[in-house]
Structures are given as structure tokens and as C-alpha cells.
């Protein structure tokens, strides 16, 4: 098997041979000589002696002299030594040519001018595409294959494959595979391009077309992407111009954006149009007027229910373990369901199958380490782990989201002797990823993926007992912690049934928990001197389990038609338990739901220009016992080389809701409840989306509009009544149901190439809800923002990357008290209430902030990037952005206090990579 693969590699990756040959020459030959000459002469000698192609600027290098005695040193070491001495780098291209660079950005220039005196001819001619060896013998056949990274063997998704001089073109799927039908002849040339890689060309022949092609791509020098590939962008963040509402993220480039503590994939999406950027307290995606719980987050096939760390400031995904991420902003394919708004699909890395590689990222917030280990020839292992440490940056963010600026009710007489205890809670988050990839044979791959993440705040302590009580009190321990997190895992079986039919079958498990325990326990001596134990406080637990199996099939019938279909079966269980004083169970809800269904979708390309994608999804949901049908449709039409029109529509259902229990002092807590036949209806949305994009080599202008209707929305409040001394509290759960709509327009202007890249994004949006409990009119939804403007600017200067991100959005809506009134109660006390404004009638001040960052690339002498050092400044001009307002009655008057988001915060990061 292995031999066969090797053979394939050798046969197919014709051009990669040249690079490897050059490397071999550099490694296997040894120099034993004394050199004293200009540098260009030294390189001339190397080229002639060892049959190398070396490209450099003779004028510059002629001025540099070397005086060096090499004692049995490899050519590679000698070259490295010399380059190091003069601050140069060498870089081997896929065609085997060695470039001597003063700066990494010189590569493009050297490539263009490598003629005449500048270039030293060696033994091998630079790679030209071989001519056909024999006349074509096969016609109109199908080729399939895989595109992988030459260094790590990691499959490359979204690489574009085309047959030269034809309209045949396709892109690789997430697993790097592709298929092309009706290839005219076996002398055609396959061209492969992918961002961050050097383009490849392969001449087909009678032999190659018999087996799947394995195309290895060489990484491009970490520099500007000068190669223009139509329809393929190389930035951190891209839109798919052929589809409506699709965003793609390249995690490897995330360090070019400002970050506060962690490279954050979900935060990065917030820089694009249609994804709200001003919710510092939620890294979940507010997409097109939707809420984070309406966004399905799928990681390697399993659903992630808690996408945040640290009260929402960071997302729960380690970018080092992630290969690629797509965000579907709406109108998405029938492959996905169960959410009203959007889908975030995250795929983990397969890992380096050639050699072990390691990396570590350090920041003021956390340490993040990963390893990619080839276990044997068939399998690879990826491990990634990060953990925060409670430094000043962590504490700053923690305090921001954990305590309000106003301290509790107060008033005279508050607090007992000694006053309240001053304590600092211990708090941290961590997450870990494990991914094991096992290639059973050439048609079967098994992947096991495991994700675990948790946030914990612990303020448990033993109470200091005052000396005058030590005789009667033995011990009092206060338990005070909040823990929440996820555990998810999947086993995926990829099976290629034939050249054009393959399937992915998953067994998935995902669990979420959110526990809070605030209780006091201890023992005291009674009047007889016998110890008596006591316990009091609240224990609140919410958990969710999701076990499922699903199978997704693809049948690529021909170049014009693909058929995707599949089925799924899930059991979800939720448990919500609220116990007070160990005895009184205030809430105990345990629910479970079986659901199952299937989907089918046709991907039709009747002409080169038109793409149609009709689909349908059927879901049977146990608790309601009903079948839900979701028709979907999307289409795109290429008007000409620059313009694309696109549209999508569909119906979407959601069978569970994330509800927020507000807790100002301890941070809001989220948990999940399943839809049922009574108070939580099944949510339903309809999407209508359309857009046009205009794209040139340099620029992209993308305009999309959307309109969504929503019904079966649920708002939940949990109220604690009887907050009187000594009483047993009662919890009142109120479920309010309503409808809503969201509409908007998004404009993106992106500059894709050059030293300066970046984009400007503008979103005009409106999201309104109507809940009978708040009246008969629509009111602005909590996430409603009218205007949002974002500008992301990145400047590349040799080994430096600078970025500036400025965000502006009009204020979020809020509700305010207008007047107060006081009523006497039966016990002779009084109660004061507010008369409040219309629901969300007022607006908080506009949100804006500027983030800056600078990153310096650390390069090896051979031009490979080994890490970076970066500084990020968050909210540079320290603008006070209001999160919400708090109201309190003090001395009969109402006092409003702003609770603000984070002010100016700097961060340093260091990333290192080893192979």
C-alpha cells in the first residue's frame, strides 16, 4: 500500500521532484574548501559545481566578500552560514531554483528579472511543463485525486483545479479530494492553485489517469501573494463570491489581525459585513439580526453548545487545531439544519503526516501549545491545549464582566461585624483538542476528534471564625463556584465508494454543562456540646447531552450535476435543576427529544455561468411528534468575468433555545431548553437573500441584501420571589413567545493584493420582534443595530505586518425607567416600581473603537516562517463603550449607572513553531 502511494507520489508530483532534488543536492554534498571572493562568485561556483540554479541580484552581492573556510560542511550549511553572515535568506521554489533574498518581498522581483547576468545557470533547466510523450489515447474520461501540502501531507481544501484551455474547473472539498468529468484528452494539463502555495501544473498521460492523482503543493514564501488566482483569495478572511452569504476564514493568517490575548476565529468573523462586531460579552455570532443561539456551530461534525470562554470575551476554539472555518450567513444548504440564522462549520487539522511539528503561543492571557505527530504511515495525531493564567489581563477582563460598577443595595445597617470578606476568586479556562486520523486504505479514512473546554470560577473557602466563636463553631466552609463547558467527540468514517460516490458517516456526542454552587456547610456544637452539621445555599445545574449518528453522501454524476443526500438521528436530553438549602428543589426539569430525518440536494450547473442548488430537509421532532419540511434553494449566475449575481431562500426550524438567566453580580448564565408542545415552541424562519459581486484581480465589491421572518421566538425570564429574610425562595419562570423579522444590506469593498490589503464593511440592518407581553407593536430586538461600519487595514512591510481595525456601530437598544412610584404593602413597608419606556425604545451611545497591531515574522535562514512576535492594542483611544445600564433605588430616588465594555488594553504575543 505504502509503496503504491510512494509510486503515485513519484509519478504524479513531477514538479515537486525538482525541489526535492535541489534539497537533496544541498544536503548530500560536502564542501571542503577555502573561499575568498565576492559573494556572487561563490554562488557561481556552487551552481556550477553542484548543478544548481541560483537566482540573486549580482549588483548587490558583488559588493559583499566572503572569506570562509568550510571543513566538510554540507552545501546547505555552507549556504546557510553565508546567508546568515550577510542577513540574507535563501528560498527553494517548487521548480528547484534557489533564490537569494535580502528581504522576503524580493522574491517576486527576482522571479521576474531572472534573466541574463542575474541568473546563474546550473545543471538542471528550470522546470518547464514536459511535452506530451505520445499522442492522446484517451478521450472524455474522468479524473479524481487529492491535493495535499508537500511538507505535512495535510489535505488542502478549496484548492482550485482546472484543465488548461478548457472551462473545466472545480475546487477541492474539505478533505482535499476532487473529481473532474469529461476531461478532453490524456495530454491535457491540470493546473492547481491555492492561496499560500506555489501553483502546480501537471501534464496528464495514459498512466496517470488510471489512478487518483495526488498533487503535492509547495508553500509559497510567506510574503505577499503576487499570484493572482481568479476566484481565490489569499487574505485572512474571504467571501465566496459565487455563493450568497458565505465567509471563509484562514486560521493560519489570524496573527495578522489585532488580538487581545488569543487568536480568535469567531471574533475574526465579526469583522465581516453582516456579523455584528460590538458584542464584547459574546463571541457567539450575531448574524444578520440573529442571535448566537440561532447560529449552529459544528466542529468536526458535532454541535458545540457553549462557544464562549470568560463570559463571552473569547471563543472556545483553539485556532491552532483548526484547519478551516466557514460561516454561512443564511440561506444555507439543506445539509445543515436545526438553527434559524446561520451555520459555522469548523474543521480540525488532520496533522502533519511527514514529520512531527510543535508550536507554542504565549500571550499575557494564556499559553497555547500544540503538536502534530505522524504516528505511523497511516495515521496522524494532533494535540492542542490552551489554558489561561490569572494575570493582569485575565483579571481585567474577568472584572469587567463579573462585577457591576454599583455595589449592592447598601443603606445603613448593612453588613455585620467585620464587614464583608474580601476575597479574590480563582478563575481560569482551558480547552483541549485531540484529533486522530487513520487512513485504513486508500478509500477509507477514520477520524476521531475530541474537544473539551471548561471555564471555572471558584471562590470556595473556609470561613475565618472569629475567636469569640471558636468554642462553639467547629468549621464553616463556603462553596462558591461556577463551572461551564463542553465535551464533544466524533468518529468520522470517510468512504470513497467509487470514483464519484463518497460518504462521511459520523457518530457524534456533545455535552454541555453549566453548574453553580453557592452554599455554606459546617458543623457547630449544640448546647450539649454535640457537633451538628448544617448546609445551606443554592445549587444550580444545567446540562445537555446530544448523541447522534449521521451519514452524508455525495454522488458526483457529471460536471453538471451533483447529488448530495443524507440522514441523521439524534437524541438530545436537557436537565435543569435548582436546589435551595439542600432540600427545596425549585426547578427540576428533565427533558429529552428524539429527532431524525434526512436531506437531499441537487447541485446543478447547466452552463458554465449558472449554478442552481435546490434542496429539501425533513426533520421529525419527537416532543411535538411532527414532521418539519424545510425547502431550500440557492443560485448564482456569472454575468461576465467580473459580475456575479446570487440569491438564496429557504425555510429553517429550530428545536431548542438558549436562554439567559441574568445575574449581574456573578455574570449571566446561559443554558439550553428543548422545544415542546407547551411553552417553548419550535422556531421557524424564512430567508430571502440576494446579492451581486464585482471582482477584479485587485478588488472585490460585494453587496448582499437579506430579509428574514421569524416565528416561535422564546424569551425566558427566571424571577426569584420572596427575597425576604428566612423565607424559602420561589422561582417563577416566564416564557414569552413572539415573532420577528430582520432585514438589511451589506456592502464589502476589499483590496485583495499588494502591500496594503484590507476591507471596508458597511451593514445597514434592522431586527424587530413582537411579543404580546410587550404590546402589539414591533420593538427593536436586543441585537438590533442600524448602522455598522468596519474598516480593516493591513500593511505588509518586509517582515512586519501592521494592522488597524476601526469599528463603529450605532447604539444598541435599551429600556429605561421613566418615573417611579411607591405603594405601601400589607406589612406596612413600601415597594417601589418603575414606569418604564417602551421596550427597547432608547439607544445606547454609539460604539466605536480602534485596535492596532504589529507582528514581526521570525524566519529561518531558508525562508521558512518559524514564528512571530506581536503586540496588540485594544481600544487604543480608550473610548467608553456602554454595555448596559443598571438601575437602583437609593433613598427613594432611582440611580442609573453605566456598565462599560473594556477600555484600552495592550497585549503581547509570541508564537513559535518547530518541525
Amino acid at each position: 500500500m505504502k509503496k503504491l502511494l510512494l509510486l503515485l507520489l513519484f509519478v504524479v508530483a513531477a514538479s515537486s521532484g525538482f525541489s526535492q532534488q535541489t534539497q537533496k543536492i544541498l544536503k548530500k554534498n560536502y564542501i571542503n574548501k577555502f573561499y575568498t571572493c565576492p559573494l556572487d562568485k561563490f554562488l557561481d561556483t556552487l551552481a556550477t559545481t553542484y548543478h544548481l540554479n541560483i537566482v540573486f541580484e549580482r549588483d548587490t552581492l558583488d559588493k559583499l566578500d566572503i572569506v570562509e573556510h568550510f571543513f566538510n560542511e554540507s552545501v546547505q550549511d555552507a549556504l546557510g552560514k553565508v546567508c546568515n553572515e550577510y542577513g540574507l535568506h535563501y528560498w527553494i521554489e517548487a521548480n528547484g531554483i534557489i533564490y537569494i533574498l535580502q528581504n522576503t518581498d524580493d522574491l517576486a522581483r527576482l522571479k521576474k528579472t531572472n534573466k541574463g547576468d542575474n541568473m546563474v545557470s546550473g545543471g538542471i533547466k528550470p522546470v518547464l511543463l514536459p511535452d506530451p510523450v505520445e499522442p492522446p489515447s484517451h478521450f472524455m474520461f474522468t479524473i479524481s485525486g487529492r491535493v495535499v501540502d508537500q511538507g505535512s501531507g495535510e489535505p488542502l481544501p478549496s484548492a482550485s483545479i482546472s484543465i488548461r484551455n478548457t472551462h473545466l474547473t472545480t475546487t477541492t472539498r474539505n478533505d482535499g479530494n476532487f473529481i473532474l468529468f469529461n476531461v478532453p484528452s490524456d495530454t491535457c494539463v491540470v493546473e492547481v492553485s491555492n492561496s499560500g502555495y506555489q501553483p502546480e501544473k501537471i501534464r496528464l498521460d495514459a498512466k496517470k489517469i488510471k489512478e487518483p492523482l495526488v498533487i503535492e503543493m509547495f508553500t509559497a514564501l510567506n510574503t505577499l501573494n503576487e499570484v493572482t488566482i481568479t476566484g481565490k483569495k489569499s487574505g485572512v478572511m474571504n467571501t465566496d463570491t459565487k455563493k450568497v452569504g458565505v465567509l471563509e476564514l484562514n486560521p493560519a493568517s489570524l496573527d495578522k489581525l489585532p488580538n487581545i490575548g488569543e487568536k480568535d476565529i469567531l471574533r475574526a468573523f465579526q469583522l465581516m459585513p453582516g456579523v455584528a462586531a460590538t458584542n464584547e460579552s459574546s463571541s457567539g455570532a450575531y448574524v444578520r439580526g440573529g442571535t448566537p443561539d440561532q447560529n449552529l456551530v459544528v466542529f468536526d461534525g458535532f454541535t458545540i453548545y457553549q462557544v464562549d470562554h470568560l463570559y463571552g470575551f473569547f471563543s472556545a476554539f483553539n485556532s491552532n487545531a483548526v484547519k478551516d472555518v466557514q460561516l454561512y450567513k443564511g440561506g444555507f444548504s439543506s445539509q445543515f439544519g436545526g438553527r434559524l440564522s446561520s451555520v459555522t462549520e469548523i474543521n480540525g487539522k488532520d496533522g502533519n503526516k511527514n514529520e512531527a511539528s510543535y508550536g507554542v503561543d504565549l500571550s499575557l492571557l494564556s499559553v497555547n501549545a500544540f503538536a502534530e505527530i505522524p504516528v505511523n504511515n497511516e495515521s496522524t495525531l494532533v494535540l492542542a491545549f490552551r489554558r489561561s493564567y490569572q494575570g493582569p489581563l485575565y483579571n481585567k477582563i474577568f472584572d469587567q464582566f463579573n462585577t457591576s460598577s454599583v455595589q449592592g443595595g447598601g443603606g445603613p445597617g448593612g453588613g455585620g461585624p467585620g464587614g464583608p470578606e474580601q476575597t479574590t476568586p480563582a478563575s481560569h479556562f482551558y480547552d483541549a483538542d485531540l484529533r486522530y486520523n487513520y487512513r485504513v486504505d486508500k478509500n477509507d479514512i477514520l477520524t476521531w476528534s475530541l474537544y473539551n473546554g471548561e471555564d471555572e470560577t471558584n471562590n470556595s473557602r473556609a470561613l475565618q471564625i472569629p475567636s469569640f466563636l471558636t468554642s462553639s463553631v467547629n468549621s464553616i466552609n463556603i462553596t462558591d463556584y461556577t463551572k461551564y463547558g463542553n465535551l464533544g467527540s466524533s468518529v468520522k468514517w470517510f468512504k470513497k465508494w467509487s470514483k464519484n460516490v463518497y460518504s462521511n458517516t459520523y457518530i457524534t456526542y456533545s455535552s454541555f454543562f453549566n453548574d453553580r454552587n453557592r452554599s455554606t456547610a459546617g458543623t457547630i456544637d449544640d448546647s450539649n456540646g454535640d457537633p451538628v452539621s448544617f448546609e445551606s445555599g443554592i445549587v444550580e445545574k444545567n446540562s445537555l447531552n446530544d448523541v447522534g449518528v449521521k451519514s452524508e453522501w455525495n454522488w458526483e454524476m457529471n460536471n453538471k450535476m451533483k447529488f448530495a443526500y443524507g440522514g441523521f438521528l439524534t437524541r438530545q436530553g436537557t436537565n435543569y435543576n435548582y436546589v435551595q438549602n439542600d432540600t427545596a428543589t425549585l426547578v427540576n426539569e428533565r427533558e429529552s427529544a428524539f429527532s431524525g430525518g434526512g436531506y437531499a440536494e441537487l447541485l446543478i450547473d447547466p452552463t458554465d455561468k449558472l449554478h442552481l442548488q435546490p434542496g429539501v430537509r425533513e426533520t421529525w421532532f419527537g416532543p411535538t411528534g411532527k414532521l418539519y419540511t424545510e425547502p431550500r434553494f440557492s443560485a448564482s449566475y456569472l454575468l461576465n468575468d467580473h459580475f456575479t449575481l446570487k440569491a438564496a431562500t429557504g425555510q429553517f426550524y429550530q428545536f431548542m433555545n438558549q436562554v439567559t438567566q441574568e445575574d449581574i453580580l456573578n455574570g449571566n448564565r446561559n443554558f439550553w431548553l428543548l422545544s415542546n408542545n407547551t411553552n417553548i415552541p419550535v422556531g421557524m424562519a424564512r430567508h430571502y437573500m440576494g446579492g451581486v459581486s464585482y471582482e477584479t484581480d485587485q478588488f472585490l465589491i460585494d453587496v448582499e441584501g437579506y430579509y428574514k421572518t421569524l416565528s416561535g421566538l422564546t424569551e425566558y425570564t427566571l424571577r426569584q420571589t420572596n427575597a425576604f429574610p428566612g423565607s424559602i425562595a420561589t422561582l417563577t419562570q416566564d416564557f414569552y413567545n413572539g415573532t420577528g423579522y430582520a432585514k438589511g444590506i451589506e456592502v464589502l469593498l476589499q483590496k485583495k493584493l499588494g502591500n496594503y490589503t484590507g476591507w471596508i464593511s458597511y451593514t445597514l440592518g434592522q431586527a424587530e420582534d413582537k411579543f404580546a407581553v410587550f404590546g402589539n407593536n414591533y420593538f427593536p430586538a436586543d441585537q438590533d443595530v442600524r448602522h455598522e461600519f468596519k474598516t480593516i487595514n493591513m500593511y505588509h512591510y518586509y517582515r512586519w505586518n501592521f494592522s488597524a481595525v476601526w469599528l463603529f456601530s450605532t447604539g444598541h437598544p435599551y429600556t429605561a425607567p421613566l418615573t417611579t412610584y411607591t405603594i405601601s404593602t400589607l406589612d406596612g413597608n413600601t415597594t417601589t416600581a418603575y414606569t418604564v419606556s417602551g421596550k427597547n425604545e432608547l439607544r445606547l451611545p454609539d460604539y466605536h473603537r480602534l485596535d492596532l497591531s504589529a507582528t514581526y515574522d521570525l524566519l529561518k535562514i531558508n525562508g521558512n516562517k518559524i514564528g512571530s512576535i506581536g503586540i496588540s492594542l485594544f481600544n487604543v483611544y480608550n473610548h467608553t463603550n456602554v454595555w448596559y445600564k443598571e438601575y437602583q433605588i437609593q433613598n427613594n430616588a432611582a440611580i442609573a449607572t453605566n456598565v462599560d465594555y473594556l477600555g484600552f488594553t495592550p497585549n503581547l504575543t509570541l508564537s513559535l513553531r518547530w518541525k
Binding site: 425607567p817 404593602t825 416600581a833 425604545e841
Partner: protein
Amino acid sequence: MEIKKHPIKNTLLLLIMAIVLNACKKDVTTNANTNLPVVQGYLVVGKSISVKVTMQKVLTDTAVYGTPIKGLKLNISDGSSTIQLTESSAGTYIYSDSTFLTTGKTYTLKFSYLSYAVSAQTIMPAKPVNFTTQHTGMSIDDLLGNNNPLDTLNVVSWANPDSLNHVLVFNNLDGISFPASTRFGNATTDFELNTNRAAAYPFTQRTFAYYGHYQVILCTVNQEYINLLTSNASGSTSSNLSNQPTNVVNGVGIFTAMQADTLQFLVQ
């Protein structure tokens, strides 16, 4: 580089216009609720009727109650007859014939204020039945005393087959308050508890913040009174605030009927 400006410009313009035009259509809800009168009226069988009407207070007002509204004509109807209340002091309107209130009748308050026709309706619930206490008193220690804080030391009970709303009101009859514990901070000597439609309520170490003689009053109340016990002013933020439920139409506050039964209880 050549950019064909016109087609994109036109499309953009069209789309933007379409959305903007649509977005401008907005329901404007003017909030005149701040002018509504505050009504406080408790109808108790065997007692004279007193209804207080005040204005709402601006947020910075430190007075306990708002400015009384004088010169109103308040009527209460029991379905067959209507009485008119007289203003005894500024903003306080009374009717002293206690025979007007009887169990099971629906009482409707009506008056006009500014341009508002203010009204409220309530039903007189039945008197509590079989209100008893297990012990006539109980002894408590301070926090670190001999009792487990959760032990039930006494139970009061009553008949409640229909799970009606009841509240327990505790009036400390001693003029001077003796705190049982410093734990309760600024707890008041008199307090009330919602019994959550139960037929009994357990007293624990923590039920009382002060020692002394108590008058324990069990009241059958309507839901509007239960709603009053939770104020929208406690723990409220701009993201969770909503209006306090009220049974007063074109007004805020409460107009509710109730009946009571009383026990004596000693906490030592």
C-alpha cells in the same frame, strides 16, 4: 485597472434605496404612561375603604410617595350599587360604611384624571379558613446557636383546597426591636411572605430576624397583590426591564380586595 462603475452603482443605489425606504417605516410608540395616576386601594371586609391617588415621581425625587392628586371623584361599584368616596386628606379618598364590602362581590373603581378614564376591578376573596399554629411560640438562637438553621420549629396551616393565593404578614408588637442575628442587616421587624398557594408554612430559625411578640396575619389575596411583591426595580438593568404588572387601567399601582385572620405568636 478598469472598473465598470455604472452597473454596480445603479444596483447598489437601487438596493440601498429599497432598504432605506423600508427601514424608515417605523411604529412610533409615544409613552404617556408617566402621567398616569398611582392608585393604592386595599379593600378589607369589615374595614372602611381608603384609596390613595398620587402622581408618579421623577427619578431623582427622594420623597417616599408622589404628590397627592386632589379633587378627584372616585366611585366604587359592587355591580348593583355605586358609592362615592370623599377626600379625607390630600389625595386620600375614603368611604367609612364597612358593610359595603362582602365576600365574592366584584368591585370596580372608576374616576377621571386629566384625559384618562381610570378604572380597576377586583373580587373580594373568601376569609381564610382553619388558620392554626402548631405552637404558640418558639425559641431561636442567633446564627451560631443550637438549632440547625433549616429545622422546622413551627408550622402554621390553613385550609386551601383550591390552591388560592395567601400571604402571611408578621407585625412585631414590641415597641423596641431585639435583633435575633446581625445576619439580616437592615431587615425590618414587620414583614410578609408569599405562601405560594400552599396550605401551610414552616417557620425555621431564619424566618424571624427579631425576637418578640408577633401578630401573624393570614390574608387571602388576589393575584394582583402577589404581582406587587416582586418589584421591577430590584436588580433591573436596561436589558431586562419591563413594566410592573398592574390591574389598574389607565393607571399604575393596585386596587385589590382581601380578607384576613390573625394569630399571636411569640419568638424568644
